[in-house]
């Protein structure tokens, strides 16, 4: 019978850990690429409704967000429990939307301004009244492309 093992080398050689960082770096690159760091802190309850016919929102840099919902518990003694509008990091009134859209629009390249989309992230417990006011304000600010944010679900009823 042939002998494959060399005489004398009985102890197991140590595994080289040099390739371990490579694997970890690979994982890091994956997470770095897929990370979107949330820049706004949510101050309102925000569970968007489910829908089956959702489309993915492409080009996140062209999207500005409007959050609507009940203020979170820690803000309730100051702002009450009625649904409110959040723009950037603060509560806002319907009248502030015009300025918000104008600022967001200014940040975009002139050629891309028509493609600007407003994503309405509205809590499912909200009544339509405030949403209607926001939509009217958006029409007045001529931000006409909107996206009703929704989770993808299999069935809605």
């Amino acid at each position: 019978m042939a002998k494959f093992r060399e005489e004398g080398s009985k102890e197991i050689p140590q595994i080289s850990t040099a390739s371990l960082p490579d694997i970890i770096f690979m994982l890091i690159f994956f997470f770095m690429v897929s990370t979107t760091i949330r820049e706004t802190q949510l101050m309102v309850e925000n569970t968007v409704p489910g829908a089956t016919e959702v489309k993915k929102l492409e080009r996140k840099d062209l999207v500005s967000y409007i959050y609507i919902g009940k203020p979170k518990r820690q803000f309730q003694d100051m702002y009450g429990t009625e649904p409110r509008i959040q723009l950037n990091d603060s509560f806002a009134k319907v009248g502030d939307i015009r300025d918000y859209i104008a600022t967001e629009r200014k940040q975009l390249d002139e050629s891309e301004r028509p493609k600007m989309t407003t994503s309405l992230k509205v809590d499912e417990d909200t009544k339509m009244g405030v949403v209607t006011d926001v939509k009217l304000a958006l029409r007045k600010a001529s931000a006409l492309k909107i996206n009703y944010s929704a989770r993808e679900v299999d069935r809605v009823y």
């Binding site: 829908a51 509205v122 009244g129 996206n147 993808e152």
Partner: protein
């Protein structure tokens, strides 16, 4: 004596890499933004307003959907459950048997189809200020689903492919044959805020 190999101790490197990895793991939120796209109508100026008022749309060409403040549906004058909305909207859009209470067809030149019949139907959606957003989204979802199914059916019949697999030109042609027009009337305020 063994010659020193050109290796360095790589163990701390793994530590640093782990640290970074943990940071990105924590900071990652996989929120893909999804939703239903809509286009709001521009605010008409006075001239356009007057023209609009003159232009009467025939009742048979309008699919009227009302949602009241108790989240109940009234479709074309009859109460309806949300689960039937999709089918009845589809029938309205296609009008397969050319019925007289469903929308008229007009002849129009559409790429890929040539001179073809095109529906004049539009969907009119009106809600109350007290309607819940959840119900409103369900209705929007069903109406979108109805249009999507009609488009997909046509794509299968005409091109033998699903709508989403078609080229942009073919998609546009189908959109033009069954244009998705959902007009939203100013909401009523019956149920209070």
């Amino acid at each position: 004596m063994a010659r020193p190999k050109g290796e360095f101790n790589a163990a701390p490197m793994a530590d640093i890499a782990f640290l970074l990895l943990i940071f990105f793991l924590v900071a990652t939120t996989f929120d893909v933004d999804t939703g239903i796209m809509r286009k709001l109508p521009p605010i008409p100026d006075e001239e356009q307003q007057r023209q609009q008022d003159d232009k009467q749309i025939k009742e048979r060409n309008v699919f009227e959907v009302l949602i009241n403040s108790n989240d109940q549906l009234l479709v074309e004058g009859d109460p309806m459950d949300i689960s039937n909305l999709r089918e009845s909207a589809k029938e309205f859009i296609v009008n397969p048997r050319n019925e007289t209470d469903l929308p008229e067809m007009e002849m129009k030149e559409v790429p890929f189809f040539g001179e073809t019949e095109r529906t004049k139907g539009i969907v009119s959606l009106q809600n109350d200020r007290g309607t819940s957003y959840e119900m409103y989204m369900k209705v929007q979802n069903e109406l979108t689903a109805a249009y999507n199914e009609v488009h997909d059916d046509l794509a299968m019949r005409k091109f033998g492919q699903h709508y989403k697999e078609l080229t942009k030109e073919k998609k546009d042609a189908i959109d033009e044959k069954y244009p998705m027009i959902i007009s939203e009337a100013e909401p009523k305020n019956v149920g209070g805020n």
